[in-house]
């Protein structure tokens, strides 16, 4: 279970964008969080992924409270999350080939030896051809780069996936392909999902349940 308990977070302590928000994602559950742009839903997603330290409140991961944020989070907690952001260009190191990009979390956790096998499997899962894997981000399209970013998020086999507007930049076919890849992984691993977005039709089709930002803040 992933529990977000009365979180207050933002970029200015006097005026936080997230105020007293609570949300729970059950084991293996997929929850879609809907809201207009600028409402704070992405900030909440970053807190949930341990990437942004909240001003107040608590994140509890499978019964254990989060004990740090960003690089200070204990490795076991940090690697429990796979995160996919909206803009693949901004979340990919331009110097790495797609193979290196996907393998980076393995290397960072001292498991580089597993890389060749895992990258090959994941490339197939997300629909990346062999010839693309040797390229760098500027040599592939947004859709192809986002596929690589999803593979990177899955490479450590996370128990929780946070997808923040993962498909907002993508065409309909790539969107359906990436959502299918996420759902295949979840069916196989039992991972839970928090998908943040503004596309009601998409999230209702994708997730077990959807909540609107207004419902969270009013409660």
């Amino acid at each position: 279970m992933l529990e977000l308990r009365s979180l207050t977070a933002g970029y200015d302590r006097r005026d936080p964008v997230v105020r007293e928000v609570s949300l729970t994602v059950g084991p293996g559950e997929s929850v879609g969080l809907l809201g207009p742009s600028g409402c704070g839903k992405s900030t909440l997603a970053r807190v949930a992924a341990l990437l942004h330290r909240p001003d107040r409140g608590e994140v509890v991961i499978d019964g254990e409270p989060a004990r740090g944020w960003r690089h200070r989070a204990p490795r076991a907690q940090r690697t429990a999350f796979g995160v996919v952001f909206q803009q693949p260009r901004l979340s990919a190191d331009p110097r790495l080939t797609l193979t290196q990009l996907i393998a980076e979390p393995l290397r960072a956790t001292g498991r580089g030896a597993e890389a060749p096998d895992r990258v090959r499997d994941l490339a197939r899962t997300v629909g990346l051809g062999e010839d693309l894997l040797t390229r760098r981000p500027h040599e592939v399209s947004d859709g192809q780069l986002q596929r690589a970013c999803l593979a990177r998020a899955l490479v450590l086999r996370p128990r929780w996936l946070i997808c923040d507007e993962m498909t907002a930049m993508l065409d309909a076919s790539t969107t359906a392909a990436l959502v299918t890849a996420v759902e295949d992984y979840r069916a196989d691993s039992g991972a839970g999902l928090l998908a943040v977005g503004h596309d009601k039709v998409l999230l209702e089709r994708w997730c077990d349940r959807t909540v609107h930002w207004d419902e969270l803040t009013r409660a």
Partner: protein
């Protein structure tokens, strides 16, 4: 005009329905038969390819052809990397040095956007006859100046308004794009995505250009803002302008377009009336059909496989490898019917009759 990959042999026979423009080389066509005003934009056999290091070529646009009439909105849709933004850059004369073009893109008065020199483009075309609504407005606006100052500069350049009338003209220009007057003294980074979009739209409208070019105007906006943005664009088009909207957002295209052009692997593979395309009988090209079926409110099923690389396009139909209808006929590139008010470049288009039997 350097040699294009396909432009030479594909040079169109100008059809009788095509209005003739003064400087058009093909102006021997039958002018008397033409009653309608000339199209605002007439794209004929437009090809763009990039020369890469090592002698390789990337065919980004191949033999695009369509007309755009006043009062009409054409949505150009396709997945990322299919060449649609390169087409837009070609129409604005903004291609990089290593691009080679072929064909023609004629404005209503006969100016060819592909051959016009930079001076002509800068002084008489951009902003004045072709307005651009950019992909990421926040990046398009000058970060160090307020919206008011940018609107006033554009007004000064394009319409010659001078102080003291400038201030009022700036506010009127903002008003046209529903940009709130209270935000005029803000800098771009102080605006939300929706407001930045409106500021960029206001700038694009100042020159009263007969052709508006919107390159992914709704990327990253939420659904309500998308609807509002495209409705505003539609309203500005009115009866005497034309809008070419490039987008991957099929819902936005459905909301605004009169016609839809689908681009795949550098070619326009289908042009159709928007109502036919999104409703009944639906798209005829199997790729276009697959793209619609991928929508979450339809079957939510991706088109299998990936599009080919533009640097290594296969012989024959570029979609054949992903197509369940493909057979030996697809080894030859299918062409879009000559006068494409509607049609599909496919050897095995999905026929309406077949749809009926499947239903």
């Amino acid at each position: 005009m350097s040699g294009s990959p396909t432009g030479a042999e594909a040079e169109p026979a100008v059809t009788e329905a095509e209005p003739v423009t003064a400087v058009d080389a093909d102006a021997d066509a039958d002018a008397a038969a033409v009653a309608a005003p000339p199209p605002v934009l007439s794209v004929r056999g437009l090809s763009v390819r990039f020369r890469m290091r090592g002698g390789a070529h990337v065919a980004a646009v191949t033999d695009a052809r369509f007309d755009l009439a006043a009062g009409e909105c054409l949505a150009l849709v396709g997945e990322s990397g299919c060449g649609k933004s390169v087409l837009a850059s070609a129409l604005l004369g903004l291609l990089p040095e290593n691009a080679q073009t072929a064909g023609a893109a004629l404005l209503g008065d006969g100016t060819d956007l592909l051959t016009a020199d930079e001076r002509t483009l800068a002084r008489t075309v951009r902003g004045r006859r072709v307005g651009l609504v950019p992909q990421s407005p926040a990046a398009h606006l000058t970060p160090v100046r307020t919206v008011r100052s940018q609107l006033e500069e554009t007004l000064r350049e394009l319409t010659g308004v001078r102080r003291p009338a400038l201030r009022e003209a700036g506010e009127a220009a903002a008003e046209r794009a529903a940009f709130p007057a209270g935000h005029l003294d803000r800098y771009p980074h102080e605006l939300s995505g929706g407001l930045a979009q409106r500021a960029a739209t206001a700038l694009a409208l100042i020159g009263d250009a007969p052709l508006l070019l919107a390159d992914e105007p709704t990327t990253g906006l939420d659904r309500e803002l998308v609807d509002r943005t495209v409705d505003e664009l539609r309203r500005h088009v009115g009866d005497d302008r034309a809008l070419l909207m490039i987008t991957h957002d099929l819902a936005a295209a459905e909301r605004i377009a009169d016609r839809v052009a689908v681009m795949y692997a550098s070619r326009i593979v289908e042009i159709a009336d928007a109502a036919d395309f999104f409703g009944d009988p639906g798209p005829r090209h199997p790729y276009a059909r697959g793209l619609l079926d991928a929508l979450p409110d339809r079957e939510f099923r991706p088109v299998p496989g990936m599009p080919p690389e533009l640097s290594a396009l296969p012989e024959g139909c570029a979609f054949a490898a992903r197509c369940e209808r493909a057979d030996e006929a697809c080894a030859v590139v299918p062409v879009l019917p000559a006068e494409p008010s509607s049609g599909a470049a496919c050897h095995h288009p999905v026929a309406a009759a077949l749809e009926a039997s499947r239903a």
